[in-house]
């Protein structure tokens, strides 16, 4: 079956611009996570959705970052007034639900470059 997909695969933007990154989770997965991976580091948690609601957004670095999941499926990560420090790979993962130890299935990521 289809895995987690993310679009675009690469995004180059200029400092100060607005970007949207999209995640399509595995069909039927109710849990969705966003992570950010900087060069040479492990992914860092940004936000977790259970269904349509953001159950934990404690990892978002500041109020320029926002994410939505209006219908409980596709999610969009939105970054306003981008800065060079936002350059990273943004990863999305989904899991079947809220059971302990559920495997998270990762998408290929979106590589964001802010010039």
């Amino acid at each position: 079956g289809a895995g987690v997909s993310q679009t675009p695969s690469n995004k180059v933007t200029e400092k100060g611009k607005y970007v949207e990154l999209r995640c399509d989770p595995i069909s039927g997965h109710t849990a969705l996570y966003w992570y950010r991976q900087s060069l040479g580091q492990g992914p860092e948690f940004l936000i977790y959705f259970q269904g349509t609601g953001a159950a934990d957004d404690s990892g978002l670095p500041n109020d320029r970052f926002f994410a939505v999941r209006p219908e409980g499926s596709v999610s969009t990560l939105k970054i306003q007034r981008t800065e060079r420090g936002d350059s990273a790979v943004y990863l999305c993962a989904s899991s079947p639900g809220a059971s302990t130890g559920d495997t998270q299935y990762f998408g290929p990521g979106t590589r964001l470059t802010v010039l």
Binding site: G42, F45, A55, L91, A93, G101, T103, F106, P108
Partner: protein, 116 residues
């Protein structure tokens, strides 16, 4: 709170020799533990996971890991390295300490090189 330490940032082995990637964790609650692999410009792939059943876990591509609670370790091993094993490996801990869902923490990663 959780934390993950991967003791080696880089490991280099010869093809056909054993692989050992070390991971120690800290968790205030019953953790689940995972190993993921990331090949260059590819997504993260699950190798194996421990969720409180058998402490010796077998995964894909001949990898296995042993959960040792007394040592708070979850080291990844493989008897014989292949060239295709060259990649970045992440140890991951998740638990529900102060949350109602699995809060996941990634280690910093270990880069594995395989020498022909």
């Amino acid at each position: 709170a959780q934390s993950v330490t991967q003791l080696d940032s880089h490991v280099s082995v010869s093809e056909g020799t054993p692989v050992l990637l070390r991971c120690n964790y800290s968790s205030s609650y019953s953790p689940s533990l995972f190993w993921y692999v990331q090949h260059p410009n590819k997504g993260l792939q699950l190798l194996l996971k421990y969720t409180s059943a058998a402490t010796l876990v077998k995964g894909i591509n001949g990898f296995e890991a042993e959960f040792k609670k007394s040592e708070t370790s979850f080291h990844l091993t493989k008897p014989s390295a292949h060239m295709s094993d060259a990649a970045e490996y992440f140890c991951v801990v998740s638990d529900r300490w102060k949350t109602s869902y699995d809060k996941v923490i990634f280690g910093p990663g270990t880069s594995l090189s395989v020498i022909p």
